[in-house]
Amino acid sequence: MAANPATESSLDLSWLDLYEDATSAEPGKKGLTLKEINLGRYADTARGAGDMTYRMRGAIPRPGAQRFGPNYQSKADVWAENCLMLYEEATQRQWSSARDIPWDTLEPLPDELERAMCQLATMLTEVEFIAGDVPGQWMPFVSAQDFEAGLFLMTQIMDEARHTDVFRKRALANGGGLLAQGAGLGLRTLIEARDFTEMSVLMHVQAEGFVQSMFRMGELIGQTEADKRIFRMSAQDESRHLAFGVMHLKYVLDTEPERREEIHHYLDKAEGDAAGGGSGDVTFPPVFEALCILLGGGVDKFDEGLQKFLLLRKRQINEYVHRLTVAGLGDRRQRLGPLMAQFLDPA
């Protein structure tokens, strides 16, 4: 008779055979990504009820596990169908503000242009600082049943750190410095959010959407190759954050349509407050003036810059409404705050 090691050595081994199915995820074209391991009883579609612990989805519940305090129990509260893909994309596309920006291409600029760029960088380093704090605030409440959403938020924290640092670097790299603090940028609405979906629609969709539309005009705003690269690289990251927000909103509206009016309320507040500019408001006077100078090419071309600024604002608003429409909130068009509605193209 074979020896029973569990008995002979006082082994417990109760953990050894808690499951019978064998899982062998295989790498795909992009390696072994979260998509490849999202299978069987480990898949998001097999998600069970949460238990207020941090038990990873698919792990066997531990008898006597202690609760950690409230976290979101419903998948719709935090989920976006693209979060697996976005997480892996984020890990693949991390970049270095130290080495991936051609700092050596910076050249002395006319004083007014350098000051305008530094003012914009001052505002952006401030905005991105909050954009890192906000997902951090919500991480403890994201259940490990939906851990991919949590992983994505952790990549966003990293992205925003890099943005905070790259704009600070830009302000201090070309003979300038930081200038006036932003105020009334609408950032308080992000940190005031009391619900994940509220936070996501205001930060991911609205604020990061506005920033993204601006970054995509970086070829016009940037005065040097380094500036343009900063905007391009940052826009790449913002696209992920925005995509998460749009798909999270879509998931909520698809699965909990009764929340539609509640979400409108959050947007009513954000569009109405912050001087009507929304979260990440670029109409704050120093930012507005700096953008007009950069877009025009100097103080003496302020009026040309103003016309381009209005185009930027138009682009921001129309892309914002388009994104909301994609998410299923197309009726926002009829409720848009007046300072935004003036720029809206006909449907």
């Binding site: 990873m56 700092w103 951090g136 991480m139 750190a161 300072l339």
Partner: protein, 406 residues
């Protein structure tokens, strides 16, 4: 027609609703009733009118402009001349590392104050707006959070980034004996959860820390990102070779970290875990079953080393600046050691490691002997890490001592 004209006409055509905020602001600035409507009728867009209002154009100037005079958009450009330090030209000290945040620590921009007083999200070194809302930060004291090493560690973390999906050779995995594979999977289940919890906990403290310590916040962001990657990499390994996720991790230690009421308490508690895990993963070759696991543990240990470096220097700095808080730290270490000792005795924690160290259930006695050596090394190194932080822990918690010898 110019773009501006087109936009202006479009605004007119749309019969723009004038927001109450604009009317209120116009009243504050002494604009006569009907002046906004007049501006709209003259083809100015609401946005331009709003910019004038935000910029403080008073009623007299607005009226003069609309009667055919000067620019309505204020161009005082006062932000161009705020008294911040100007003329900064940061350059890379080490071309291989590029332009690092260490290179930005020049002039007044390099001053990290002992006490940061601004309650807004102002960027350190920029010119403060006199009237701003309180953003709710609670950590304003450098001694609680700061370590000089966070500056180089931030850039090193970015330089050393890796990707679990493609930097590990998943195709190299080969079937393992049942007991070994199950032990690997149980180990991975535990550590996937531990990393996720630690990432969530650090994340939750980020919004508490004010901008005065921006470099520290940047570094913590890399820690959070590292922990995300550890969590998913361990999960991937559990699901890649014929096993699965096992029993969830014990909750004792993570709960005590979650219970921390201050940043220094959290840091002290995680000091214990991060020191122990650094030693564990840096000795990963002893329990790795294949090259993939060796690579994984080596990468994780490298990341953990940065966390540990931060812990040591932060504690050392805090004890130097706040010597009256030295004894208090014993309370946190004791609590954390106690929970860790309890978890080390948990069969789902100790047995998988013993099986992996011994080479199978049949060699469990040998595995336990090796585990005792490993636990001793973890405790010895932990005490040494504390010593490096100038903290002498005279007696470790009895439960941990007992668990290390079990």
């Amino acid at each position: 027609m110019s773009t501006g004209e087109a936009l202006a006409r479009a605004a007119q055509a749309a019969q723009v609703e004038i927001p109450q905020e604009a009317r209120d602001r116009a009243r504050e600035l002494g604009w006569e009733d009907g002046l906004i409507e007049l501006a709209l009728a003259k083809g100015h867009s609401l946005q331009v009118i709003w910019q004038a209002l935000r910029g403080g154009v008073d009623g007299k100037r607005a009226k003069e402009f609309l009667q055919g005079g000067q620019a309505a958009i204020p161009r005082d450009l006062s932000w161009m001349h705020v008294p911040t330090e100007w003329g900064i030209r940061a350059r890379p000290k080490d071309p291989a590392m590029g332009l690092t945040i260490a290179d930005l620590m020049i002039g007044t921009y390099g001053d990290v104050p002992d006490i940061w007083t601004n309650r807004s999200e102002i960027a350190r070194g920029s010119y403060p707006n006199p009237v701003v809302e309180d953003m709710g930060y609670t950590i304003f004291e450098k001694a609680l959070v700061w370590a000089d090493c966070c500056i180089p560690l931030y850039e090193e973390a970015i330089r050393d980034r890796w990707v679990s999906a493609t930097d590990l050779n998943w195709n190299s995995l080969e079937p393992l004996p049942h007991d070994i594979e199950r032990a690997v999977c149980q180990f991975m289940t535990e550590h996937s959860e531990r990393a996720y919890v630690a990432g969530a906990l650090w994340s939750g403290w980020l919004p508490e820390i004010s901008y005065g310590f921006i470099e520290l916040k940047l570094f913590l962001s890399t820690v959070i990102y590292d922990l995300a990657r550890h969590s998913e990499a361990f999960r991937k390994r559990a699901l890649a070779n014929g096993g699965g996720l096992g029993l969830q991790a014990p909750t004792d230690f993570s709960r005590v970290a979650r219970e921390a009421r201050s940043f220094p308490e959290l840091a002290a508690i995680l000091f214990v875990q991060d020191s122990m895990l650094y030693t564990l993963f840096s000795r990963g070759d002893e329990f790795a079953q294949n090259q993939l696991e060796r690579d994984l543990y080596r990468l994780v240990a490298r990341d953990r080393k940065r966390m540990l470096d931060y812990h040591i220097e932060r504690l050392k700095h805090m004890l130097f600046k706040l010597p009256d808080r030295r004894d208090e730290q014993n309370l946190y270490f004791n609590k954390a050691e106690s929970r860790m000792g309890k978890e080390w005795l948990d069969p789902a924690v100790s047995e998988p490691l013993a099986i992996l160290l011994g080479g199978g259930v049949d060699n469990i006695a040998r595995g336990r002997e090796k585990l005792r050596e490993l636990r001793k090394a973890q405790v010895d190194n932990y005490l040494e890490h504390l010593r490096q932080a100038t903290f002498i822990r005279k007696h470790i918690n009895g439960r941990l001592e007992q668990a290390a010898q079990a």
